[in-house]
């Protein structure tokens, strides 16, 4: 790529709301409350060039019925626990479930892109607005924590490593 067009592209990208390719992000940026949501974590790079060997995501309170999609070459594990309260899932009550998903055993070179998917149900108890799924990316050398949740009045762009987020819309 020649320098000029690169700089131009960079300028355009700077103007766009978020530099999506840079962080670990969710592929589907919006979802509706009280419905299913397929969360797809997009991992575009390792840690300063080092290949990714483990991805951990924390399931926020109010997100239930979590089922990770098995991934060839990776071992998937879940950490289960009790929720802060019980939630309504298609008419049934659930009070415990997956709190964390861990993909490990694989190796994703810095030059490659991959996705880590899981299905969730977003309970109607959740507030509308951004919902954050903090992610810890561990690499052969070092790690990256995508866990920064913007303070009120700030946006993802104000942070170096914001947590992946989905904007929740009320059912309507």
């Amino acid at each position: 790529m020649n320098k000029l067009s690169f700089a131009g592209a960079a300028g355009v990208l700077l103007l766009s709301v978020s530099a999506a390719a840079a962080h670990v992000t969710l592929a589907t940026p919006e979802a509706t409350l009280g419905g299913s949501y397929k969360a797809v974590l997009q991992v575009g790079h390792g840690c300063a060039g080092s290949p990714t060997v483990k991805v951990r995501v924390q399931i926020p309170e109010g997100v239930v019925n979590v089922k990770p999609q098995p991934k060839p070459g990776w071992t998937v594990e879940t950490v289960k626990g009790a929720y802060a309260k019980s939630y309504d899932l298609w008419g049934a009550k659930v009070s415990e479930g997956v709190k964390e998903i861990v993909w490990s055993g694989g190796s994703l070179p810095d030059d490659f892109y991959d996705e880590f998917a899981f299905r969730t149900y977003l309970t109607a108890d959740l507030p509308a607005g951004p919902l954050y799924f903090p992610v810890v990316q561990e690499c052969e050398k070092g790690s990256e924590r995508w866990i920064e949740i913007p303070a009120p009045g700030k946006s993802d762009d104000d942070y170096e490593s914001p947590a992946p987020a989905v904007i929740l819309k009320p059912k309507g």
Partner: protein, 532 residues
């Protein structure tokens, strides 16, 4: 606030620099640089090379020199992940801070700072202070100090020696004239010192000397006490010179002798050092010993020249070793406290002045030994040739004493190495968040600052986070945030060294407490750092 240039000043320590680009590793990360972060170069480089983990495009580059001036740099060239930035020619000696900002191919801008030094790292505060002072004011400050020392030590010390070494009243003559002039000169020097101190405190040129606020400012500094004590002691000594009654004369002279010690203990670097209970008495002892010893030289020389002074000389040679011992011992302890380390003796300006002073003192010692061993005994036996040689030798000693005074006065301009690492004024901050809080103490120093962080949970109870990081960014965004990782120390506190904030101005401090693997409390607060 003062000049923007001063606000811009940043002289950074080397330690934190390699950590600076840390938080930005997600996108493009700085992998290497030439010159390397924190390196000290013999000669100014003509370019900086930054190597990133992936291709980048240049955005903004600013270079902050040791004088605190920020210059925008243009002309960065990129070859993939390798960025070359030409530097201005003839960069000055000292610490250079390159603030860089680039955009990586994914469109995310990242920034950081690269610190390197040419020749030697600069200590921001004293460099700035010296540079900002008008040259005339510096000369005046130096002359006032030197004159003050002469008045206090030669004048008051001389009167004391005269009053206590002999029972006879002082004959009016050359000695009385010389002592009167010395005392008057010392008092005038103290007064001029007030004005010079005021000029220095207010950063005014010599022409402002007529302004009363300058003198009030001088009086309000610690030198104000020194000047008043010195003038009082000079008046007492002048009175002693004229007192007819032996007991009155000796009482006045003894009272005046308190002057040099008290005046010097009231001001100066050494008196300001801790432990105060040790340093101030030591300075007092040191100054009093100088007055006792140096004060004796002039009366002795004049008396011996006129064929007298045998009794005084005999008494002086008994007391001199004790006085000299106190002088050397107190001086050594003060020097050790002030220097802090042995290499500071030749690596700092303060140390170099001390070295020069030690050389002069050693020369004085040689003269004193020669006088004592080779001349005093023959003279007391009645050898007139020895008397002439002793007078010449004492005159040489007096000249050396003045050299020592001049060197000691030069310390006014060189902060002791101790001060370069010692705290100035700690700033205490309480950072508040929903899930966690932190008590933070920022201690700015010349060329650096240290952070002490006590993490507290939402209830205000101390807890131990998995990690603590801090970043400091100037509020006006003139340079990129400086990021550091804190290390746990005792009492649940975390410490980090931050690159120098000597430039002052408004800064935003962010403390990140890693509460759990997935939760980071990010606490922010503003602080204002005063200019040095």
């Amino acid at each position: 606030m003062s000049l923007r240039g001063i606000l811009m000043c940043l002289a950074l320590i080397i330690l934190a620099a390699p950590m600076a680009p840390r938080g930005a590793m997600a996108h493009a990360a700085l992998v290497a640089s030439e010159p390397a972060a924190g390196s000290v170069l013999a000669a100014a480089p003509d370019q900086v090379e930054l190597v990133f983990s992936e291709p980048v495009a240049p955005l903004v580059f600013r270079l902050l020199g040791p004088d605190g001036e920020a210059a925008e740099l243009a002309g960065a060239g990129v070859d993939g992940a390798r960025l070359t930035l030409p530097l201005p020619p003839e960069l000055p000696q000292g610490t250079q801070v390159l603030s860089w900002r680039v955009v990586s191919e994914d469109g995310h801008p990242i920034g950081g700072t690269l610190v390197f030094s040419i020749g030697a790292p600069s200590a921001a505060a004293d460099g700035l202070a010296v540079q900002d002072r008008a040259p005339g004011v510096a000369v005046l400050l130096w002359l006032a100090r030197g004159g003050l020392y002469a008045g206090l030590f030669i004048g008051i010390g001389g009167v004391f020696f005269l009053s206590w070494s002999s029972r006879r009243a002082l004959p009016s003559g050359s000695l009385r004239r010389v002592l009167t002039i010395t005392l008057a000169a010392g008092a005038v020097a103290a007064a001029i010192g007030l004005g010079a101190q005021g000029l220095d405190a207010l950063d005014k040129p010599l022409s402002a000397l007529a302004s009363p606020t300058v003198w009030m400012a001088g009086l309000s500094t610690s030198f104000g006490r020194t000047a008043i004590l010195a003038m009082l002691a000079s008046v007492l000594a002048l009175a002693a010179l004229r007192a007819g009654d032996l007991r009155v004369r000796r009482a006045l002279a003894a009272l005046a002798l308190l002057g040099p010690g008290l005046a010097l203990a009231a001001t100066g670097h050494a008196s300001a050092a801790s432990p105060q209970w040790l340093m101030r008495p030591l300075v007092f002892l040191h100054a009093t010993a100088i007055a006792l010893w140096a004060g004796a030289l002039l009366p002795l020389a004049l008396a011996l020249r006129d064929g007298g002074g045998r009794g005084a000389l005999a008494r002086f040679s008994i007391a001199a070793p004790v006085v000299f011992g106190v002088l050397l011992l107190s001086g050594c302890v003060i020097a050790v406290v002030q220097l802090g380390s042995v290499p500071a003796l030749w690596q700092t300006e303060y140390g170099l002045v001390l070295l020069a002073k030690l050389v002069a003192v050693a020369a004085i010692c040689l003269f004193a030994l020669y006088n004592r061993r080779a001349l005093t005994k023959p003279l007391l036996r009645g050898d007139d040739g020895a008397a002439r040689r002793l007078v010449r030798s004492i005159v040489a000693e007096i000249i050396l004493v003045f050299v020592v005074f001049g060197l000691a006065a030069a310390w006014r301009f060189t902060p002791p190495p101790r001060a370069l690492v010692a705290a100035v004024v700690p700033i205490e901050l309480h950072l508040h968040g929903a899930r966690a809080m932190a008590e933070v103490v920022v201690t700015p120093r010349a060329g650096a600052a240290s952070l002490e962080i006590e993490p507290l949970d939402g209830e205000g109870v101390p807890f131990k986070p998995l990690a603590v990081e801090a970043q400091l960014a100037p509020a006006d965004g003139r340079i990129e945030p400086i990021r550091v990782v804190a290390e746990p120390v005792a009492d649940g506190r975390w410490r980090a060294e931050l690159p120098g904030l000597a430039g002052g101005g408004r800064w935003t401090l962010r403390v990140d407490l890693l509460v759990s693997d997935f939760e980071k409390a990010m606490l922010e607060g503003d602080l204002t750092l005063s200019t040095p």
